[in-house]
């Protein structure tokens, strides 16, 4: 049913720490690996070794440059996957009921055998979290590794999403936002977690922890003022070249 539940028993989701992410794309690869080999249709690639490779991914890492009013610019690596929104617009637009949000844990899923591949849910998502698979013709999205987190065949430490399990920097955290004392709730509170595009009214569950301020140092080294100054005026051939070129 594509009506959204009024409330979910648990709110499973991710906290992504933009201060810690090093942009290695390991989460992208582990996500693709797990979700190609397990639940649902494989994430296909078209022309993988050709001139124009393209493929379905449920998680992609962007990089942004943030230029503050003063000081050096900061580079922020920005992994983006489904935010499992409380007010998920992708669910209500689905004509077949293939898209749904689970009452028990809030995970947004696609029942692939009901999906007609109309693409409307991807149109409704502001985050680009849904991709229509080019070969299977069905909509693919992050499942929060629903086939890992409850999987009793896996060792307990592996019962978390593949992206979280693999992150070498510890920039991704998985937990229940409905529990105020969970790891993700505490991180979100302590570090002032951000909602992406709050103006879209989607009420995303996943939160992003903003990068910490860089240290501000007035000088590179205390001895710097005593170093020989860098010559500003050219001499010899360079001076002649400079003067000659100035004339034109």
């Amino acid at each position: 049913m594509t009506s959204l539940p009024k409330q979910t028993d648990r709110k499973l989701g991710l906290v992504i720490d933009l201060d810690t992410c090093v942009g290695c794309h390991a989460c992208v690869i582990s996500c693709k690996g797990w979700n190609t080999e397990n639940y649902g249709a494989a994430l296909s690639d078209t022309d993988p070794y050709g001139a124009e490779p393209s493929g379905t991914f449920l998680n992609r890492v962007h990089s942004y440059e943030v230029q503050p009013a003063s000081g050096a610019a900061q580079l922020v690596h920005f992994p983006k996957s489904c935010l499992h929104c409380d007010n998920a617009p992708c669910v209500t637009v689905c004509p077949t009921g293939a898209s749904y949000k689970r009452v028990e844990d809030g995970i947004v899923l696609v029942n692939e055998s009901d999906c007609i591949g109309c693409g409307l849910c991807a149109w409704a998502c502001p985050y680009g979290a849904r991709e229509l698979d080019a070969l299977e013709g069905v909509m693919k999205k992050c499942t929060l590794c629903v086939d890992r987190i409850y999987n009793e065949n896996l060792p307990e430490e592996d019962r978390e999403p593949a992206c979280v399990r693999t992150c070498p920097a510890g920039a991704r955290h998985f937990g229940d936002f409905a529990d105020p004392d969970s790891n993700v709730s505490r991180l979100n509170r302590d570090r002032g977690g951000i909602d992406l595009m709050p103006e879209q009214g989607t009420k995303p569950v996943n939160k992003y922890l903003p990068p910490r301020r860089k240290d501000q140092t007035a000088e590179i080294d205390v001895l710097a003022p005593f170093l020989e100054p860098v010559a500003e005026d050219a001499k010899g051939f360079m001076a002649w070249l400079d003067k000659t070129l100035e004339k034109f």
Binding site: M1, T2, S3, E52, P53, S54, T56, F57, R60, V61, H62, S63, Y64, E65, V66, Q67, P68, A69, Q74, L75, V76, F78, K80, P89, V91, T92, V93, C94, P95, T96, G97, A98, C115, I116, G117, C118, G119, L120, A122, W123, A124, C125, P126, Y127, G128, E131, L132, A134, E136, G137, M139, I194, L196, M197, E199, Q200, G201, Y208, P210, P211
Partner: protein, 290 residues
């Protein structure tokens, strides 16, 4: 947004077809017998042909019947119901007109209402999307309905109504362009809100997630047609409004009528192409594109 030919053909043709069905349902023109058969054939070819074209963009057309299930929340599902209802009611109404020379007026009114409802549900599929601010405004359904009524009046041969309806639709289309041009800025999404990083400084997309393209860029980021949008808008207005109105205002002649219909159809195609090509999805922001 990527202007997919199947969706442009679908919305244009079925809009015209349901417009014609609306007028036939209202008894304009009050035809019976084989003349009615000809009118209904044209209307059904346009409406059903458009619906068939729309299934070409589905990944799994064989499951299309499942789209009837979610009418409580989904405008696409409601469109399926409204179109099936309109086509069914108008088929009974048309059958009685063609083979029994009988006009059941209330049935025609119901069919007309369902036909307009179908066009309205189609428009709401686009209007509901907050992710595409240009569409997310009340003028979108007004535009779809105005164009459908104008096309229906033209095809049904109601000349005096058609001249007024086409001119009115032209005004609505122009208004939708004016409203739409500022909608993205008004909606308030930019790279700063998309990343939440605006509080630290000016955000710039530094590196995309991959060197190639992907589904999102193919589907939502389309910039080719935009640089010619002013010229295409003019072409759309000339073909959709100016030429048909002139052709209709001249003394009646079948060639002028054919020119009016063809010109209007091509004009609506151009306008509908622009409707998609000019629409910007907020996901483009993440890629530093619009």
């Amino acid at each position: 947004m990527h202007p997919a030919p199947s969706v442009i053909i679908f919305t244009t043709l079925s809009g015209l077809g349901f417009g014609l069905l609306t007028f036939l349902g209202l008894g304009m023109p009050g035809v019976t017998g084989w003349t009615a058969f000809a009118f209904f054939t044209i209307a059904y070819l346009l409406a059903v042909g458009g619906l068939a074209a729309s299934t070409f963009h589905l990944g799994h057309p064989e499951r299309a019947f499942k789209a009837f299930t979610q009418w409580r929340t989904s405008w696409l599902s409601r469109e399926a119901w409204a179109s099936a209802g309109a086509l069914l009611v108008m088929a009974i109404y048309g059958f009685l007109l063609v083979f029994h020379d009988t006009r059941l007026a209330p049935l025609g009114w119901l069919g007309a209402a369902l036909s307009l409802l179908t066009v309205f549900t189609t428009s709401m599929i686009y209007t509901q999307l907050r992710t595409v601010p240009r569409w997310n405004t009340p003028i979108t359904p007004v535009k779809f309905l105005a164009l459908s009524i104008a096309g229906g009046a033209l095809l049904s041969g109601e000349v005096s109504i058609a001249i007024v309806a086409i001119a009115a639709a032209g005004l609505v289309v122009v208004a939708s362009w004016i409203v739409g041009d500022t909608r993205f800025a008004e909606a308030g999404s930019d790279l700063s809100t998309a990343t939440g990083l605006g509080r630290f400084g000016t955000v710039r997309a530094f590196e995309p997630p991959h060197t190639g393209t992907n589904y999102l860029l193919r589907e939502f980021v389309y910039v080719v047609g935009r640089k010619h949008s002013a010229k295409l808008r003019l072409i759309a207005l000339l073909l959709m409004v100016a030429l048909p109105v002139i052709a209709l205002a001249l003394p009646f002649n079948h060639i002028f009528a054919a020119v009016a219909v063809l010109s209007h159809l091509v004009g609506v195609f151009v306008a509908r192409w622009l409707f998609f090509a000019e629409a910007e999805h907020v996901v483009g922001l993440y890629y530093g594109k619009r």
